[in-house]
Symmetry: C2
Subunit: 263 residues, 2 copies
């Protein structure tokens, strides 16, 4: 008994691309894509069935009823201020860190639809296991977002702007920073012509272990053993790159100060 | 046509525990466990079939022929200097960062047997996919270590002391630091009574993506978008903990400086 929604997107980046395709796959109609970069909009439209590129923000004649503002965080308030919507349209943004209130007076019906996932153009994602965090002040809007989200995912959570921001920051630590550490590690091995492949079983086990017994019970390595000699040794090796030394020092110190074993 | 080895362990920490049990499972004999902490030695022996606790470092009458020095890095040189081995015994350490040469003159036959994995007492590990990095100057010793390692794992690599150290540092970044970031993230959510479970699909996808398309192609988040407003916002939220701010700043700056999109 799925209900189909009429949707347009403002934005054509990673989030817009993945969401627009997922919306189509779930049977919804994606009417227009607006992007400040018309090339990007065209590239995305090429992957959709029957969607028009729109080069202005006047959507008063659009058949869409839900408008996804999937743009960069700092563009959201200005786009919301400029957009012209049909009567009774629902405007939502998809950002982790932008408060609902920043949609301002663009519509009486506003909300947030934040898929808690990392989107890269070259990797397809199954959204069914991706939590979608929704927010709306109006209960009817909340219900509408809930029923839309349910067509994409099994995990919907109502989360207010403050908690959504904190979840986003926690995700930056656990995911964005984590990926960067993998990249640093990869670079370091590449320099020595050692295959990054070698580390993969260790990385997979680290994550599996952290998620199954809890990261607070899974910490290993020289810092948590307070093995100062090895820490010094590693710092000496990293002398070729001060910024890596700084990262090494700051995180190791934080591990030492966390008193893992006392927990 | 597996060959069975006679082995003893000096040390009873996580590495010794996992290796001793794995050695037994592979059909080898674990004769003695020595530990500076006799309680730990007893606990480990309780999990093995027929192993004695030894309270001194005189192994001259031991039936073992391979001695695993699985102790903390800074204890390795002193233990190697004190230990008394039977004639022709092979002494190996299991450390990522200690050079082979630190085993000194304990025996003519010395080597390194470094399982590239994270070991915690409460989590069993299947060693078959764990790379074991071996090193020896003597070709016969190398061959012996290789055939022992093959009884535990499918992935054996010959790696010299310098490269092993670098692999270990890369592993500290990719694994020890990564787990700590998960712990930070977990703490942050706990404070707000948000279930860490919510982040798990994102964490799993982050790692899968990084390992499949390469971390250099997988970076997302505010820093790589150079979204200074969100970075400021997050820094402001983290004001309750200066050390978290420092980690946030140092890693974000490093992401910005890495010019991901230019790669």
């Amino acid at each position: 008994m799925a209900k189909y929604f009429d949707i347009s997107f403002i934005g054509s980046g990673n989030v817009a691309s993945h969401l627009a395709k997922a919306m189509e796959n779930a049977g919804h109609f994606v009417h227009e894509i607006y992007s400040r970069n018309p090339e990007n909009a065209k590239a995305l439209i090429g992957k959709l069935y029957n969607t028009a590129a729109q080069e202005h923000l006047d959507f008063s004649r659009s058949k869409a009823r839900i408008f996804f503002l999937a743009a960069s965080d700092n563009a959201i308030p200005e786009l919301a201020a400029e957009i012209i919507l049909p009567p009774n349209a629902l405007l939502v943004h998809t950002s982790g860190s932008v408060p609902l209130s920043q949609l301002g007076y663009a519509s009486d019906r506003i909300g947030v639809f934040y898929p808690l996932q990392t989107f890269s153009k070259s990797k397809k994602i199954d959204l069914r296991e991706v939590p979608i965090l929704i927010e709306a002040e109006d209960k009817k809007v909340e219900k509408e977002l809930w029923s839309l989200a349910r067509t994409l995912s099994r995990k919907i959570e109502k989360v207010n702007s403050n908690n959504r921001k904190i979840i986003h920051i926690a995700a930056v630590f656990a995911c964005n920073f984590t990926n960067h550490l993998l990249a640093i590690s990869n670079d370091m091995l590449e320099k020595q012509k050692v295959d990054f492949e070698l580390l993969k079983p260790l990385i997979v086990e680290t994550i599996n272990k952290g998620l199954s017994i809890g990261p607070e019970n899974a910490q290993t390595g020289p810092a948590v053993r307070n093995d100062l000699q090895t820490l010094d040794n590693h710092m000496a090796y990293l002398e070729y790159d001060e910024s890596l030394q700084e990262i090494y020092k700051v995180i190791s110190q934080h591990i030492i100060d966390s008193n893992y074993s006392d927990k």
